[in-house]
Symmetry: C2
Subunit: 231 residues, 2 copies
DNA sequence: ATTACTATCTCACGAGTAC
DNA sequence: TGTACTCGTGAGATAGTAA
């Protein structure tokens, strides 16, 4: 918990940038005000307060005023910096879904077994999925919303195709982990037959068998989002 | 220049810590208030404002409220973090003095040539100094103050000694660079004959000859302070 | 040209409280 | 339990201005 007032952070940072850590740096309140996008008066007050709180020292030589950051000021800055750093770093980079298994093999299974798809699964995911998708019903709004925002993240794109009679839409695959043990892929279909509250998973193996789970069981799915969302 | 209000930084950092970057995290305003050391009302207002500014999203499921940080919120946090990071990193870690040469060889030269000192100089600095100290008169207050605070930093300590008749005080040596070209050492004496506005330098060679400077010339001395001041 | 005072305004915060 | 309204207080910012 920093004792340094939040509104002084940028002022102190500016002084650091000017090299005021170990040397007295001449500075005017109006130039400082410009740097921190505040008025001259605000800059003056900041210096006054930083000084009385022991974060900086000041020296006047006639008209010139020079400022140096104290050890305490340095320490305080590091403290805030570390707080932000750790809060940014401890942030896990996956999207998690929780829900219950609703059906073993829906009609999705049929489509996903078509040659036009399986060829691409093999080359892009490295395997031909077990014939049957696992459908998971999301119960909480936050997971449904999370599913909606998933397509802002990079995915493995399996293109649609045509078999002469009709066309089949694209499939976006998000490598995922089920119950922190089974590798799978969460798939988003161009043409889905489910509402937003259901997600579909494919996997090399039969997830239900491997996990000994059945319809009604609760499961957790994690999708890694290493990179930043496209924007 | 962050658009994020400064008072929201710690709130947003707290949400990051709770893992709200990629997932909706359930949170109550009172627990959040405690975390940021503000009231429940303040926390509520922060969330409201962060939401309307587009830094977070919220979802209510009945009584439960979940929060997720948006890409914009993430970017803004990174921006502030980078600002602080660069201001801390660009900070040079030396103390600089500027002044004019005032005398070639003062009485300091006599003492510094005594065996009791030269033996230690040889072993601790690696050389026997040129017989003669360079005295530099500091004109600006900030340099005089900088000299005073110098002894908070680690130095090479040359112990005092006695020759039977009298004792000679310790000498603190701060490895330094003159005019960014000559290696030397700024020395602080236990018993000095100068006032605070004069610094003394010793060097392996004759600084004046090497730099072709003479009494009255302006010179710059840098003393590295890699480590943090003792405190 | 400076710095920093005074007055004024805005807004962040907490207390109380409705829902 | 929760959230978030209103209201009062005071801190932070600016304009004007003295020195």
């Amino acid at each position: 918990m920093p004792e340094l007032k939040l509104q002084h952070i940028l002022t102190l940072a500016e002084l650091f940038s000017k090299g005021a850590r170990y040397n007295f740096i001449p500075i005017t309140t109006s130039s400082l005000g410009k740097s921190i996008h505040k008025s001259q008066q605000a800059a003056s007050k900041h210096l006054l307060e930083l000084e009385s709180d022991g974060y900086i020292e000041r020296i006047r030589s006639g008209t010139r005023v020079s400022v140096r950051i104290t050890t305490k000021g340095h320490a305080e800055m590091i403290k805030i910096f570390s707080t932000l750093k750790s809060s940014l770093e401890t942030s896990p980079s996956y999207v998690e879904f929780r829900g219950v298994i609703v059906s073993g093999m829906g009609e999705g299974a049929y489509y996903m077994s078509m040659k036009g798809y399986t060829k691409q699964f093999k080359s892009k995911l490295g395997y031909v999925p077990f014939p049957g998708t696992l459908n998971v019903k999301l119960k909480d709004k936050e997971f449904i919303e999370a599913k909606r925002s998933l397509d802002a993240y990079p995915a493995v794109l399996v293109h649609g195709f045509s078999d002469g009679k009709r066309t089949y839409g694209w499939v976006k695959c998000y490598p995922a982990r089920v119950n922190n043990s089974i590798d799978a892929a969460l798939i988003l279909l161009e043409r889905t037959h489910h509402d937003d509250s259901v997600i579909e998973l494919i996997s090399k193996d039969n997830i239900k068998k491997l996990t000994k789970l059945s319809t009604g069981s609760q499961i957790t799915i994690r999708v890694n989002v290493k990179s930043k969302p496209a924007q």
